[in-house]
């Protein structure tokens, strides 16, 4: 089975860069070229950046060097780390909500073509509405809980890829197998549980990998809009405050934390995906031919 190309489905396994599917394997062999090559590229870029900053004597409020950013990160850790946790919490809650609701909505969609036809366009509308534009509204509506408002914003951004991918997956169960289930008198529930859901798993996991990053982006964007003072302020708040105060190295440090968080989310979901699919799906199987 091969993932079909669709706007939100992951690239087909054949097209995926080898480093993506080989993450669990690459954890085992950290010395492989797949890992070393990008690390070298990153290292060279950092050195070049540091060198450029020193040679041209860039002022730190325009462009700090990576060493300074690292120093700032360590120095500011007591403030930045709680913010990281806040953003992580919003992201995780929104992501879980998006996963559960996305899966359930997809299941409801596939129970009847009419439900899908009637409601799918609204899922698309929700997806295409710019989150920056509706975040203020949501924050006003949920003014009693900024946390809830931020979660809702991140959820709106994150849930569509899961709905659309899972719907596609649930509908792509093998036709002959559907016949077989029918022939052996499978109930609707059994067909869903034993046939449609396993068939949808690779698509669902592809959706998760996209949504994980989107949940983080949604959380950060919503934090920006909320601008928030208050006790619970996330990484976006730190970035904003640092830029107001011209603490550019601090801003970079917060930005780096956000990026690292995003990468970790993606890698984590990729590992989970490969583990779940490694026995059978082309995207995770190491073939020998």
């Amino acid at each position: 089975m091969v993932l079909k190309a669709s706007p939100s489905s992951p690239p087909s396994p054949d097209a995926a860069p080898p480093s993506r599917r080989a993450v669990p394997a690459s954890l085992a062999k950290l010395g492989s070229a797949e890992v070393i090559a990008p690390v070298i590229v990153g290292g060279v870029a950092l050195v070049a950046w540091e060198a450029a900053v020193r040679i041209f004597e860039m002022p730190a409020y325009l462009l700090p060097g990576p060493l300074l950013v690292l120093q700032t990160l360590i120095a500011e850790w007591p403030q930045l780390f709680p913010s990281l946790l806040v953003t992580l919490q919003i992201t995780v809650v929104a992501f879980i909500a998006a996963t559960v609701s996305g899966l359930l909505i997809a299941i409801v969609f596939t129970q009847s073509k009419w439900i899908e036809r009637s409601f799918f366009p609204y899922a698309v509308i929700l997806q295409t509405t710019p989150i920056v534009a509706i975040a203020p509204l949501i924050i006003i509506w949920l003014k009693n809980s900024t946390f809830a408002a931020l979660v809702v914003c991140a959820w709106i951004v994150a849930f569509f890829p899961i709905v659309s991918n899972t719907t596609l997956g649930l509908n792509s169960a093998d036709h002959t197998l559907k016949n077989l289930f029918h022939l052996y008198g499978a109930s609707r529930w059994q067909t869903l549980w034993y046939l449609r859901l396993p068939s949808a798993l690779p698509y669902f996991l592809g959706g998760l990998r996209i949504s994980g990053g989107l949940a983080l982006i949604g959380a950060v964007v919503a934090e920006f809009v909320a601008g928030t003072g208050g006790a619970r302020s996330g990484l976006a708040y730190q970035i904003l405050m640092s830029s107001y105060n011209l603490q550019i190295p601090r801003m970079f440090a917060a930005l780096a934390l956000t990026t690292v968080l995003g990468v970790l989310i993606f890698v984590g979901l990729t590992v989970v995906s490969d583990r779940l699919l490694r026995h059978w799906h082309e995207s995770a199987v190491q073939r020998e031919n």
Partner: protein, 259 residues
């Protein structure tokens, strides 16, 4: 064979697919209980369509299908032309499927599954996944999945097409053995005339464009059929007869029987 009661009867069945393809036209086919019927014919003549209609996967466009077996006694097993295994499940779980759908746990079904796997000679492959099996092995898993249910009606669509000659003739003998033991009603699609003649009470020859039945050849040879039957002159005679009807259909893919 004595006059047996009716199992399945197709009366003037037409099947036109949604895209306008006339897959079957005016097909009459009667299968008595416990009979082994083979369908042969050129590719695209509607053999699979006949089996699917019998299985209730789709309705005839015209005509009727009459059953002599009450609905609740009608345990149909289908071996599809492609093995149709669940890629996420290992061999055991694939064979377990029909029993699982009837609410039987793996533990309860374990011995039945093992027996079915032994019958198709798949001991040792229990925990492999479909992608780790050869084409012939996949087909045998599919056959085991059909046998595990103790069907009363067995529909097989080119089940042995992907197998080597040795395995094929061994499975042919095994299938006949089981058939004599369990009194299944069998509809068996094949491209292999020898196989059809060796196995069946009756060989139904079909032609394409539109799909229809052109001849029925009754193989008047008692069971159990021994291996010597395969080399007898009677066998040769039947093969030639089926062949002659097929040639009339413009069938291009079969070689003439030896002898």
């Amino acid at each position: 064979m004595t006059v047996a009661s009716l199992a399945i009867s197709l009366h003037q069945v037409d099947k036109v697919y949604a895209n306008g393809t006339v897959a079957l036209q005016g097909v009459d086919l009667t299968i008595p209980k416990g009979e082994f019927v083979s369908l042969v014919g050129p590719s695209g003549c509607g053999k699979s369509t006949v089996l699917r209609l019998i299985a209730g996967l789709g309705e005839p466009s015209e005509g009727t299908i009459e059953w002599g077996i009450a609905k609740r006694d009608r345990a149909i097993a289908f071996v599809f032309q492609d093995a149709a295994l669940m890629p996420w499940a290992n061999v055991i779980d694939n064979v377990h499927l029909p029993l699982k759908l009837k609410g039987k746990s793996l533990r309860e079904s374990r011995s039945a599954i093992q027996a079915a796997l032994n019958r198709v000679n798949l001991q040792g492959a229990e925990y492999r996944y479909p992608r780790q099996l050869s084409g012939g092995m996949k087909m045998r898993v599919s056959i085991a999945r059909a046998l595990v249910t103790h069907p009363s009606v067995l529909l097989m669509d080119e089940p042995f097409g992907a197998l080597d000659e040795m395995t094929r003739s061994r499975l042919n003998s095994d299938l006949l053995h089981l058939w004599e033991q369990y009194h299944w009603t069998v509809a068996f699609v094949t491209h292999n005339i020898y196989e059809a003649v060796y196995l069946s009470n009756r060989v139904v020859v079909m032609a394409a464009h539109p799909g229809r039945v052109v001849a029925e050849v009754t193989i008047d040879e008692p069971y159990p059929r021994r291996d010597e039957f395969r080399t007898s002159s009677a066998f040769n005679h039947y093969c030639r007869e089926v062949m002659a009807h097929l040639t009339g259909t413009g069938d291009e893919f079969l070689s003439a029987p030896v002898g």
